[in-house]
Structure formats: C-alpha cells, structure tokens
C-alpha cells in the first residue's frame, strides 16, 4: 500500500499539491484531473523525483530511507519525456534499463512485440515519431517488471490501435499485489480498466465514492 500523508509539493511559489492524504491499494489506479491539477507532481512525488516540502509518503507501512535502492528497484516511472537515450536503439534502451533494474533481458523482445514495436527495435529513438516514442517509453517502464508502475499520460500522441496495444501491455503486466498509477486528463479509456480512481483538482482530498473515487479539490 502507498500512503500519502499531508503531502505538500511546490515549484517555487506555486503550490502543486496541498494537504494530500491518500491510501492507494494494489490495482490499476486512474489519476484524473484537468491540466495543472497536480497529477504529474503526484506521480513524481511518489517516484521520489520531487521531494515534498511537507508530509510523508509511506510504502507498505514504512517510510523509506532516503534513496532506498530496494524501493527504487520495485518502482518504475514514465513521465512526459520519453526517458530514453535518443542515440540508442529502442532495444538497446530497454536492455540497458532492464540490466540496471536486474530484470531479465529476455523480456525485451516479447514486450516489444506486445506493444507493437518489434519492427522498430533497432531504430534509434531520436528517429521515432512522438507516438512511437511514447510506446517505447511505456515499454521501458514495463521491462523492469516493477511492482509499482507510474505512468504519466501514456496514451498521449497515440492513435486508437496504439492505445489498445499499450492498454493490453499494462493489463498483461498487472498481477495481484502490483500497483499502477496512471495519470490522464482523458479519462474514458482508462476508466474501462482502472480499478480505482483519484480525481485531482488543484488541491486537497474532498471525498471517496463508489469504486474508491477520491476527489481532491482546491
């Protein structure tokens, strides 16, 4: 379980998250909200990429040590940027990150096929279109076989067929005990397979509803 307790995150003088209290249980969590609502910041805070000025993030009942390698091994994140080396091929990138995470590199080829990039495996990332980069980025996050998967707008720039492939890949990765937090402002696709929903709107937790909908309002 991931718990956020009174989290406040800022960028300079702008408050991106304020008094956020959440308990996130394993499953596929849809993180919804309009632009600027704090979705990306929440993912970055959970990923340890942005340190909150107030509050705690607790994993399985324990607050992680700073730069806890074991926690980082359990987690992977794909943000707005591809997070891939442009001068390396898609396959080289995936092998690199799989090795860094200690995940089996044999997983690379099946994953590329699953996400529809088998023909682009040897293409350099800087030669790919935005949609192909997005798919490669999701593949990079999945290849390390994380227990906690954090995806920021994974369907952006994708056509319907590509979005279906990404959805299928996320579903194939998901297993009991695993948690995905997926941020999107276009909720329709994600709602079809998310088990939990969190709605952010410039602020703090407002309510819980059916299907564990937690609304966060300024």
């Amino acid at each position: 379980m991931i718990e956020l307790k009174g989290v406040r995150a800022v960028y300079g003088k702008t408050i991106a998250l304020d008094k956020v209290n959440l308990s996130i249980t394993p499953g596929i969590v849809g993180l919804y909200g309009p632009n600027g609502s704090g979705k990306s910041t929440l993912l970055r805070v959970v990923a340890g990429l942005h340190r909150p000025v107030l509050g705690q993030i607790v994993f399985d009942g324990a607050q992680p040590r700073p730069n806890d390698e074991n926690l980082r091994r359990r987690m992977s994140y794909a943000g707005h940027d591809a997070g891939l080396y442009g001068r390396l091929s898609v396959e080289e990138n995936l092998r690199l990150f799989a090795t860094l995470w200690g995940a089996p590199t044999e997983r690379v080829q099946p994953l590329l096929e699953q996400i529809g990039l088998q023909d682009r495996a040897r293409s350099r990332v800087d030669e790919l279109s935005a949609g192909l980069k997005r798919r490669a980025s999701v593949a990079r996050a999945l290849v390390v076989e994380p227990e906690i998967l954090l995806l920021d707008e994974p369907f952006a720039s994708l056509d319907d067929a590509a979005a279906d492939l990404v959805t299928a890949s996320i579903k194939a990765w998901h297993a009991p005990g695993r948690t995905a937090i997926i941020a999107t402002h276009g909720a329709k696709r994600l709602k079809s397979f998310a088990t939990t929903a969190i709605v952010l709107r410039r602020g703090s937790v407002a309510s819980d509803r059916d299907r564990q909908v937690t609304e966060v309002i300024a």
Partner: protein
Amino acid sequence: MSVAAVRTGNEAGFVSKTLLLARKDLVVEARGRETLPAMLAFSFAVTLLLAFTLPPESSMRSDVPFVVGTVPVAQVLAGYLWVTILFAGLIGFARAFEVERADGAIDPLVMAPLDRSGLFAAKALSNLVTLLLVQVFLVPTFGLLFGVNLGGRWFVLIVVIALVDVGFVMVGTLFSALAAQTRSRELMLPILALPILVPIFIAATELTADLFAGGGMGEVAARGWFGILIASDVIFSVVGALAFEFVVER
C-alpha cells in the same frame, strides 16, 4: 518472496552497472560525435594560435634557455599546455549531462537501483576517456609545434597528466551535474569549477615546467607538487562520490 528479493541474486553488481553506464555514454558520443570533435577543434586551434605568440628562438629546440620577460620559456609552455587542457576539458564536461537532459533520461537514471556514487563514477569514467582521447591528440601536437623533446622522460609527463586528469574529471563531473540543473549551464560550470581547479592546475604547470626545463623524475618530485595532485585526487574522488547524491536530488 518479493520480486525485489528474487532479483537481487541475479542482478548485475555495482561495478558492472557502473561500467554499463560509462559504456552507454561512450556509445552515445561515438554515434553523436558532438563533444569530442568540439574539444579537439578547440585544442588544435588554441595550440596553433599559441605557437604564433612566441618568437621562433623561444622554441624548446634551442640549446640556450629562452626567457620571456622574467619567466623561462619552459614555464610559459607548461602554462599554455595546461590552459588548453583546462578549457578543452570544460567544453566536454559542460555537455556531460546533456544526453540525459535532452530526452528526460535523467529521471529513469536517477530512479535506477544503483548507488548514486555509481552514477557519478560512470559519468566520471566516460569523461576521463574523452579527456584522454583529446590529450592523445593534443600532447604530441603540442610537442611538435613547440619543439618539446623530453627524450626518455615522457613517462613523467604521462604520470603528471594521469594525476591531473583524475582530480580534474572528478571536479568537472560533479559541477557539470550541478550546472546541468541551471538554465545557463554552460556558463555556470566554469564559474563553479575554476576556483576549485586552480590548485590542481598550478601543480600541473609547476611539474610540467620542471620537466620541460630538463628535470627528471627526482627533480620534478622534489618540490612536493605531486603531493598536491595526489591529495586532490583522493579528496575530490571521495567528495564527488558523496556529494553527487545531493546534487541530483530534486
């Protein structure tokens, strides 16, 4: 048993991951050819320009030691060599984290289950290889243009270069990571790094001047500058590895 616990048994170790990341940087540079050519072009242009700043009789080929004002030419040439290496190195280090910044690859890199000192060591290693490649080109060119003939004492210069490079790369890598997080990153690196690098390059210049003036290993070592370099290497390696964690923290 958790996934993490299962993985630890087969996972690549610290050294393997560090070497993997350093190799990645070198492959990216070999394919992009953005940093090394710039460093080489700068080194060649500056060396060529400096070759025209001294009168022909100041060449080290002359049997009579030449004096520029009150300074022996050996001292001037040692300064020329190390100023060229200093700024060529800074050009390279300024781009050290550009490859991560360009595609947002710094995020997954920082999240990787590898001690931050491994990230630092990998980047320092790739910077060191790049700097050595520049020196392999620069030092013989410099020797030819200025008539430097060290005979059998080349190995002393190689020892000096090796000792300077370690400290230089450690400082350069640490501050390039810090500068990479600022808007004016290429301006910030020299501002941050130069004050720290001054002792290293004074020692380098003094040692090289002694060498150019005809000193052997014994004479060169006698003045204690090697101690400054060795101490700098140790201090900056330890400080760099420890401080890198705080530099990449956001």
